[in-house]
């Protein structure tokens, strides 16, 4: 629990990226990103596809291994090079319990019921008792409006319902930060709202969030800070009103012009 407390009481930036670089072969996707996310801040990353925003998000919990730079979560270095492979894996597993992630394709475990999906990691990873984890899971499912689906299998749910379960599953670990990777991009348009509403509630509760999205309305309404990325660089960042109403950079104007017309 001491590690948990460190995350709960950390006073500096929750996420701090310093000179983050990532290449796939000869293709440099992130070209030295510096970025800070404060506690309870909702930071929204926007930009054209291929700009590197998803890769950036996936580097934070080390689903992608960065090629250079530093990633600090609650002041702790994620991409340590001083650990042997097994110790490094344990280090990553521990940090990841504090970073909830929601994916574009939901990635619910299809062989488990909704409740089992939510309970799996708290029991298997955190070693919590089944009863306690189930009680928590039921509360979370109620919160995302799916209490009645606890015994359903993911295949029988709509995309929007699956994504809300995925959010509950991530929240069940009581993370300090939530990472959202284009979570509405695979949804039918009429199902986008129900997922965004859950995220909006979370933001209102003070959750620290990094959100990669194409939903400009959400970015403007919920974001504390908007980061516009293109070609592996941060082109412009600021409060939503500023970015959306008075973009300074030509590249930003062009992107917003394309997307909002």
């Amino acid at each position: 629990m001491s590690a948990n407390n460190a995350f709960a009481t950390h006073e500096g930036a929750m996420i701090d990226l310093r000179g983050l670089r990532k290449s796939f072969g000869s293709n440099e996707v992130l070209k030295g990103i510096d970025l800070t996310v404060q506690r309870s801040e909702v930071q929204v990353l926007i930009g054209p596809s291929g700009s590197g925003k998803s890769t950036l998000l996936r580097c934070v919990n080390h689903l992608e291994q960065p090629s250079g730079g530093q990633i600090l979560v609650a002041g702790e270095l994620v991409n340590r090079s001083d650990l042997k492979p097994r110790a490094f894996q344990r280090h990553l597993n521990r940090i990841r319990t504090h970073l909830g992630m929601v994916f574009q394709q939901f990635n619910l475990f299809p062989h488990k019921t909704v409740l089992e999906n939510v309970v799996e990691a708290p029991v298997q990873v955190l070693g919590r008792s089944k009863d306690e984890a189930v009680a928590d899971a039921e509360e979370l499912l109620a919160k995302v409006g799916l209490a009645d689906k606890r015994d359903a299998y993911p295949v029988s749910l709509s995309g929007g319902q699956q994504q809300r379960v995925a959010i509950a599953r991530a929240l069940a670990m009581k993370p300090s930060v939530m990472l959202f990777d284009e979570v509405t991009s695979a949804l039918d348009p009429e199902l986008v709202g129900e997922v965004l509403r859950v995220m909006e509630d979370l933001a209102a509760e003070g959750m620290t969030m990094m959100v990669v999205t194409h939903e400009m309305g959400f970015a403007e309404r919920v974001g504390d800070r908007v980061i516009f990325m293109a070609d592996g660089n941060i082109v412009e960042e600021g409060v939503p009103a500023e970015i959306f109403s008075h973009p300074r950079e030509e590249r930003t104007k062009r992107f917003l012009g394309d997307i909002l017309k």
């Binding site: 919990n61 689903l63 894996q89 344990r90 597993n93 521990r94 990841r96 319990t97 970073l99 909830g100 992630m101 994916f103 394709q105 990635n107 619910l108 475990f109 299809p110 062989h111 488990k112 019921t113 799996e120 990691a121 298997q124 990873v125 955190l126 299998y153 993911p154 295949v155 995925a166 599953r169 991530a170 670990m173």
Partner: protein, 219 residues
Amino acid sequence: MLDWSIIIHYFPFLFKGALLTLQISVISLILGLAVGLAAALSILSHNILLRWPARFYVWIIRSTPLLVQLFIIYYGLPQFGIDLNPFWSGVLGLALNTGAYNAETIRAGILSVPKGQVEAARSLGMGSSLTMRRIVLPQAMRLIIPPLGNNFIILIKDTSLVSTITLVELTLTAQRLIGSTYKPFEMYLMAAVLYAVLTTGSSLLLRQFEKRALKGAAA
């Protein structure tokens, strides 16, 4: 005309042979699954000390006949002081043989589980073995139970080759009874029927497993 009195009289002997065939099949099945899983995980491992030997094992078994493998184990190994009785020679040969085919089946099943499943598990702090055990293998099972069942049916029929290393299972029982009865058709027919009972029974049992493993899968 079939000689029914011979069939009725000798059925218990053949039934006993069939029980031995069943026994050797089940033990080889279990060992073959363990060997197959270990080989599949080794082949998928990053560690070349695991990967290369496992690849070699699968290659050598699949490129040589089971009959020769059994002869090497039963007649060849005693030269090196490894002297197994016919039963365990048979089990070893069959388990290694079916294990290599199982390894290929299991490997393909594991690879068919979408990468996003592993990423979701990892993002929740699950380690690699926990992810394999709780998330990947149960999903791979759905796809690999039918081909594994097929391997098992082949295994049951392949046990007849163990008759060549003097284990008196179903086929050798039939052969020996022909020596005293001079009724090859009746004896081999009974053996064939008993093999069919074993393989069909196994198929039905496997179908039940399959149904259980399929919960939550798309219709």
